[in-house]
């Protein structure tokens, strides 16, 4: 900037600073105005502009020698009346828009001081338009007119200013550079107190505006292509084009420049133009015109021709035309420098091109559009919607005017419902920041006031759950023509399959499919689906533990939706409701899934999860979707009476972990809490009994129900970092899921109860509450304690005691894993645990370093849990630390 303004004298700088200071004061004072204050000022301004429309048009014509008086007067009226019609009911102060369903409100913030460049082609109308916009938006404007339109612009500003001031606008709200140089403009464009540059002018000024580093609205040159397609209403099209191209002698930059006409109608169209007063140039005349009105050295139009009448241009060029000739039409054979008339011509000279096909026509329109008019305006006349659509897609223009005149159509509000404007945003194609018809919203900073929106929560469970002893009898309620029982060898040996068969209605064809007692793999699923197809099954009964039920869920999915891509469906997601991959809803077959669980831990009979092993790739795939949930769950304790002690302990701890993690999850709700808390209570009471007295029916029944209830909780609230750690550790060292959970559990409670290093975003919770939830659980269990800290400690201790009662290993070291092996595995363990989706619903965000600490705590075992303080205690400690600056 320094070199641009170096020649400015101190006096000139003082003058410019005075203008800015005045505008800044006005803008500052203006911030206090209400919508009513503003609207009270705008209306009389509009009336003043309308009153002086002809006077200002005359001044513009006299000074610039461009255009047509009547058209300029009309433009002044559009710039006031039409713009007012658009803005009069618009809110531009305070709250301007509300979106109650989104809890969003938009609040207007004025820009402050706008530096506005004015064009020679539409000087007074642009002033009127911008003044109305500025007052409506509480901004102050410093105008810089084109040097050849200074007086008329000054008069227009004066008329607007006086009207505004009379009705309460702040002093200095409009000022106008009386005479100026490029250095003045450069000084203003770089001034720290100028908030926005609104550059309606030639490409040089627009470029200077954008190069200033200030936010800028700018328009630039157009080169409007018009496609006159054979289905168009030709009479309407020809009149519209003449009206537009001759309007103010073609000075509006949106006016038509080259009309591409279908071969079939070309001659007819030219005849119609000629009949209405256009002169059709022959080849020689076209060449002469091209050489004269276009500067051969630059390829741009000659300024002398801008805004002149067709007859005057003819005289200038040396063409003989009829005295009332409105328009000169020059046939061209292509676009580019060798076809000079294919560029922008802000005077009544129109190029025409004969196109042999739609494709050729569209190609030529693209060429014209890109020959200096990118982002500006284009026109199509057609009744063929496909042609209109294709034109809209291939042409890069902020305004695509359909079956209407380009210049007057682009102004908006007359031939269409576009926003009335005198400033056409040309988008990035034109180096502009917007493609809008520039309007009041471009003169505002819009603030979004976003109120907290609690995400919609859910509580989804299978349609029917039958529980307690002999619940299996309810199978008789489900009619089926063909049922397949998916189970494992143990269930068949023990006789559970026979029990199930007994209650299936006699008329049902039953097939038993025995699968290995391990997490299902792709092959097993494929075999199951084959059987389902073979027997045309309408019902699947999954009888077994989590692996069997998971297998049945996936078989059902593939049976009903064979195209389902399991790998794609297992894609990671953060929020179930916003996941990228959706589960199929179209089904080729339908089968009811009844899950009968034979362990009291996973709760797979009610969950929407299924784990699949991909042996070929050596990895596990977790599927999660409520469409996987069984339709019916049967929770009958007779199927768990024979569970061995170890399995009773491991699955019981898994159940407890589900409940504890669901209870403190960021997705926990009153609905899931009721289930989680109840399950915790039942586990603490009945798991030791079920473990010690395997034949105790009540304990077995209660634990079986607890597993289902905990699963209902975590199906809707998810689990947490305990599961993430256990998944990683269990897979690496071949430790059962329940046991892996047990090793982590006391440490995770202590961890979650302490002040998080990093909070997990959780819009549904008010503050950090995990420690309070644990305290609530301790109260429920009657563990005592007077403070949250004490209660959490008691919960940790009670959990440790429970684990002791169940005789599960209490440290990873106890399991015979060497420190060296564990250390070696640590990087992988941490990486896998961090990626595990379970961690994303944990109340505190687990950092990688914290995962390492948790793993080592679990390695060392008991004692470390007590070392970790709870939230309350740590808060106190932090206060002390802060005080001591440690």
């Amino acid at each position: 900037m320094a070199e641009n303004v170096a020649s400015l004298s101190q006096e000139r700088i003082a003058y410019l600073e005075g203008l800015v200071s005045q505008a800044r004061t006005a803008a500052a004072v203006f911030t206090q105005y209400t919508q009513e204050d503003v609207d009270r000022i705008v209306k009389p301004m509009v009336l003043a502009g309308l009153e002086q429309a002809q006077y200002l048009a005359r001044l513009a014509i006299e000074e610039t020698r461009l255009g047509v008086l009547e058209d300029k007067a009309l433009k002044n009226m559009v710039a006031t009346e039409f713009v007012y019609d658009y803005v009069k009911d618009k809110r531009t102060v305070g709250t301007i828009r509300e979106f109650p369903e989104r809890r969003l409100v938009e609040v207007a913030e004025p820009i402050g001081v706008i530096f506005s460049l004015l064009p020679i082609t539409n000087p007074t109308s642009t002033v009127l338009f911008k003044c109305i916009m500025a007052i409506k938006t509480r901004n102050a404007v410093i105008f810089s007119p084109h040097p050849s339109a200074g007086h008329c612009c000054y008069e227009a500003v004066r008329i607007m200013y006086e009207a505004a001031l009379k009705h309460g606008a702040p002093q200095g709200v409009f000022t106008c550079l009386e005479s100026h140089s490029l250095e003045d403009n450069a000084y203003m464009m770089h001034h720290k107190d100028v908030g926005l540059i609104d550059a309606t002018g030639g490409p040089g000024m627009v470029k200077a505006a954008y190069s200033s580093g200030k936010p800028a609205l700018g328009v630039g040159p157009g080169n409007t292509p018009v496609y006159l397609e054979k289905t168009a209403d030709l009479n309407m099209a020809v009149v519209d084009i003449i009206t537009s191209k001759t309007f103010d002698n073609g000075t509006i930059c949106a006016s038509e420049q080259t009309v591409v006409i279908d071969d079939e109608i070309y001659d007819l169209v030219l005849k119609k133009f000629a009949d209405l007063g256009a002169h059709i140039c022959n080849q020689k005349e076209t060449e002469l015109l091209g050489r004269t009105v276009i500067d051969p050295s630059t390829g741009f139009m000659q300024p002398l021709a801008v805004g002149q009448k067709a007859t005057d241009i003819s005289r200038m060029v040396g063409l003989e035309v009829a005295p009332k000739t409105k328009l000169l039409i020059a046939p061209i054979q292509g676009v580019g420098r060798e076809h000079p008339l294919s560029v922008e011509k802000l005077f009544p000279v129109l190029a025409v091109y004969r196109a042999k096909s739609v494709e050729e026509a569209l190609r030529v329109c693209v060429d014209v559009n890109r020959a200096g008019g990118l982002g500006h305006t284009a026109v199509v006349f057609s009744r063929n919607e496909v042609v209109i659509q294709r034109f809209s897609e291939v042409i890069n223009a902020g305004r695509i005017i359909v079956n209407a005149p380009g210049s007057i159509g682009a102004l908006g509000g007359i031939y269409n419902d576009m926003v009335p404007t005198f400033s056409f945003g040309c988008g990035t194609g034109g180096g502009n920041s917007t493609t809008d018809n520039v309007n009041v919203y471009n003169y505002l900073n819009i603030k979004r006031v976003a109120r907290r929106t609690p995400a919609h929560m859910w509580f989804r469970i299978p349609d029917q759950i039958y529980f307690n002893l002999n619940a299996v009898e309810n199978l008789g309620h489900f009619p089926s023509r063909s049922t397949i029982i998916i189970t494992n060898p143990a269930m068949e040996q023990i006789g559970h399959v026979d029990v199930v068969r007994r209650y299936i209605p006699a008329e049902t064809l039953v097939h038993v499919s025995v699968i290995p007692d391990a997490e299902p793999d792709v092959k097993i699923v494929a075999q199951g689906v084959e059987a389902l197809n073979f027997y045309k099954a309408d019902q699947i009964i999954a009888l077994g533990g989590g692996s069997v039920i998971d297998a049945a869920k996936i078989m059902k999915l593939k049976y009903e939706s064979p195209e389902a891509d399991l790998e794609e469906l297992a894609a990671p997601f953060l929020d179930l409701r916003k996941r990228v991959v959706q589960y199929p809803t179209e089904k080729v077959s339908r089968a009811r899934l009844i899950a009968i669980s034979t362990t009291s831990g996973t709760g797979s009979e009610v969950t929407p999860f299924a784990v699949l092993t991909d042996k070929a790739r050596g990895r596990k795939v977790t599927l999660a979707d409520y469409s996987l949930s069984p339709d019916v769950a049967i929770v009958d304790p007779q199927f768990v009476m024979s569970m061995p002690k170890g399995l009773t302990a491991d699955t019981g701890i898994d159940c407890l972990t589900h409940a504890l993690e669901a209870g403190v999850s960021i997705y926990a709700s009153a609905y899931t809490d009721s289930n989680a808390m109840q399950a915790i209570r039942m586990v603490f009471k009945y798991l030791p009994i079920a473990y010690e007295q395997p034949q105790n029916e009540e304990a077995r029944s209660m634990m079986h129900n607890a597993a289902c209830i905990a699963a209902i909780a975590f199906s809707n609230a998810s689990v947490g970092v305990n599961h993430a750690l256990a998944h990683a550790f269990g897979a690496r060292f071949g430790v059962s899921h329940g046991r892996a959970n047990a090793l982590m559990l006391p440490h995770v409670i202590a961890y979650n109860a302490s002040v998080p290093t990093k909070f997990m975003p959780s819009p549904n919770q008010r503050g950090y509450i995990a420690h309070k939830k644990y305290a609530m659980m301790a109260d429920l269990l009657g563990l005592g304690g007077n403070t949250i800290d004490e209660k959490v400690k008691n919960l940790v201790t009670a959990t440790e005691q429970l684990l002791d009662q169940l005789a599960v290993p209490r440290s990873i070291a106890e399991m015979g894993i060497s420190k060296e092996d564990f250390e070696k595995a640590m990087p992988d363990l941490v990486k896998i645990a961090f990626d595990d989706p379970s961690g994303r619903s944990n109340p505190r965000m687990p950092l990688l370093s914290e995962l390492v600490e948790l793993f080592w705590s679990a390695y060392a075992g008991r004692g470390l849990a007590q070392a970790a303080g709870t939230a309350e205690k740590q808060t106190e400690k932090q206060k002390v630390d802060e005080w001591l600056c440690v």
Binding site: R24, T25, A28, V29, T31, Q32, G112, P170
Partner: protein, 97 residues
């Protein structure tokens, strides 16, 4: 450079009339020209200020700097405060509720 005095003085209390803010401020300026003690201006009845009032505020700030006195503005509403911020006048005054 602005040098602010920190010695304890009893400020002169002026209430700015919300209906004639510029005049009130000018009267304050006149008083300051006479006796050079700290001054406290009550803005509780001022709803908004206009360019003339801003000019008077700027003069008041200059006078305070010149006489090394402290001008405290009481009960300035947020809208007026924002105008003073926009005009970079706010740092030249002390604000109290």
């Amino acid at each position: 450079m602005v040098v602010r005095m920190t010695m304890t003085t009893i400020p002169v209390w002026h209430e700015i009339d919300g209906e004639r803010v510029t005049d009130s401020l000018q009267e304050t300026c006149e008083k300051l020209n006479g006796d050079a003690g700290n001054v406290s201006l009550d803005f509780s009845s001022v709803r908004r200020i206009d360019p003339n009032a801003l000019k008077a505020m700027a003069e008041l700030a200059s006078l305070a700097d010149e006489k090394a006195i402290r001008v405290t503005l009481r009960a300035v509403n947020a809208e007026v405060y924002r105008v003073l911020k926009l005009m970079r006048l706010a740092p030249r005054f002390f604000f109290v509720a």
